[in-house]
Symmetry: C2
């Protein structure tokens, strides 16, 4: 080993302290103001001066310090995202990773950063927004997982933060990004109907969320459109365990459904597992439709028919809208790709008349 001159993590000797705007100004033979004007593309700088400044900045490897800039501009040039999730759902939920990836794409062109906070409960969530605002850590925030009568849009705006709500248009008076992804549910029900199903049940996700309710309503409306009798709905909470439980509940009914539309893929796959445990075969005895099209969906046994929404595109659109909002520009017109309905192996024609099955004894998953 060498005579390791630097303790791990400390500044390297090579890292001479970074150049400042003053250094650049001195080298270019102009004032700090002129340098500032140049880097901010403001008029009133001669071509020669601009040239000298750029050359000097280049030579010194200078780039404006975001900290100083944030202070004097009173803007952090960062947006915040608060993620509230059950620990279990956190690592399966396909929404956030994709949304974040999309946000980065939308932010990339504008030199904004994304500040993240993961919280477990509502109280911490509120504290997170307050912190973004009070400590000036973000100029604006995304609001996701909107609930019915959600107080957050109002609250964060009172904190002085710009906000973009990620939900179908009309959910909130402020700017919203999102679309009626429940159109996918409608297509699912029509698909099942065309296969001959008459008893189509629904397993809902956590009650109270806008998207949960929207999916339930879409399912219900589709049944009405088709003149089918009112279906059975069971409330679950998006976890696998709840999906399995809800499935058993439906299959325990005197007249069990021949098809179930789930609020997400995780519950749907757990539903397949539950049905299989009871000796039912999917799709011969029971057809299953999920929602999300997680990467595992094609590899479920049988592969899962589901609904896919382009969440990355949502993220990009939301980011662009939020940046525009923060900077006081006109929000860009957004054009989101439509939802897709993907037919795989878990749906098929009704084959057998409903027959009673029962839950297998004692064994518990987990």
């Amino acid at each position: 080993m060498s005579t390791a001159p630097t303790p791990p993590g400390s500044l390297e000797p090579g890292a001479a302290k970074r150049a400042t705007i003053g250094d650049v100004a001195a080298r270019a033979g102009v004032s700090k103001s002129t340098v500032s004007f140049v880097v901010n593309d403001r008029p009133g700088v001669s071509a020669t001066a601009r040239d000298r400044v750029l050359r000097a900045a280049e030579a010194l490897g200078w780039q404006p310090n975001a900290r100083a800039r944030a202070l004097s501009r009173n803007r952090t040039q960062a947006v915040g995202l608060v993620i509230r999730r059950d620990p279990e759902l956190l690592s399966t939920d396909p929404f956030f990773p994709q949304f974040m990836a999309g946000v980065e794409i939308g932010l990339a062109a504008h030199d904004y950063s994304l500040v993240l906070q993961v919280v477990g409960d509502e109280q911490s969530e509120r504290a997170a927004y307050q912190r973004f605002a009070r400590e000036s850590r973000a100029d604006g925030v995304f609001l996701t997982d909107l609930r019915l009568h959600d107080p957050r849009p109002q609250e964060v705006r009172e904190l002085g933060l710009s906000a973009v709500v990620v939900a179908p248009e009309g959910t909130d008076p402020g700017p919203t990004i999102g679309m009626n992804d429940d159109a996918g549910v409608r297509r699912a029900v029509h698909h099942l109907h065309s296969l001959g199903h008459q008893h189509i049940a629904h397993v809902m996700g956590t009650a109270g969320y806008v998207h949960t309710e929207a999916r339930r309503r879409a399912w219900q409306n589709a049944l009405e459109e088709l003149g089918l009798p009112t279906g059975t709905v069971v409330t679950a909470d998006f976890t696998g365990a709840s999906g399995a439980r809800a499935t058993h509940e439906l299959l325990d009914l005197p007249h069990p459904p021949t098809a179930i539309v789930y609020g997400n893929d995780l519950m749907a796959i757990a539903g397949i597992s539950a049905a299989t445990d009871r000796g039912l075969r999917v799709p011969d005895d029971l057809s299953v439709v999920g929602f999300d099209d997680i990467p595992l969906a094609p590899y479920a046994v049988p592969s899962l028919t589901t609904v896919r929404q382009n969440v990355v595109a949502w993220g990009t659109a939301a980011a662009r809208a939020l940046v525009a909002l923060v900077e006081g520009n006109e929000p860009p017109t957004i054009d989101l790709p439509p939802v897709e309905f993907i037919v795989r192996g878990s749906t098929g024609p009704t084959k057998n008349p409903p027959r009673r099955t029962s839950r297998p004894g004692g064994s518990r998953k987990g």
Copy 2:
């Protein structure tokens, strides 16, 4: 209640200028320095003065402005995480969400923020670290997904960033957080051996990653320990498609394995799907072991035997270590929970002598 000029909650979107340290000082009848000393817990302030300051801050709802503080302390009080992922893997990978959640827990006590950047390729990744450094957006970074001979630890330190490497101890000369999760693979092989398996193959994740290679080596070493013949290994890339492909490849061999240990759950579940498509039954004809214990693992059909590591705890430990590093404190001693090996339905005794099967015609998943 006092006549505070800006009681919390009365903020109008536009107006609402927040109290500054000067306002607090004036209200408490002391200087800015004293206020600063109080909020930073520095000695040399009388109890009465401290009391008055705290009371004034409380009344004004004041909290130091992170932007100003960042500038004068030359420290942002934020740490960065760069996520590089294939789009497909992004939404299935259980690592990042859990790691991030853990990081938040570790950061919470210290008032640090987490700045995130999601990138697609190596070049953008490098640019992301440079940006963190040049624009002073983070004081330190986490380095995950370490590759063999990874240049990043060196590079980011040259940029003047503190760094904590998330990898088994000894992988890097600097501070590392992580453990030999490959011990789980060893237990998996022993488990399979005890069930009577002699032909245990391995489907590797993307080559070149430290954890990929560690798992392969653990599998190989375990075979040697048990005196079993050298097993077959196929390289895949952690995606479902690659897992299915690798599985077919193994089952096409003249002497197909009776058990396969996969580099992650996604590939393992895709492997079950592939085997099922060929008419094999899991675990009777083929035993399968995954890695990660994603929430879906219990709901695969059959449920998946796998290895679970406490990634949240890693995140917390990594965050604590990074904050200590940034602040020049002694890194805390870390104590990570051991990996767990979870036996479910996808592994069982060898029942049938290996028999030839073949891939089903034409159909493609997706």
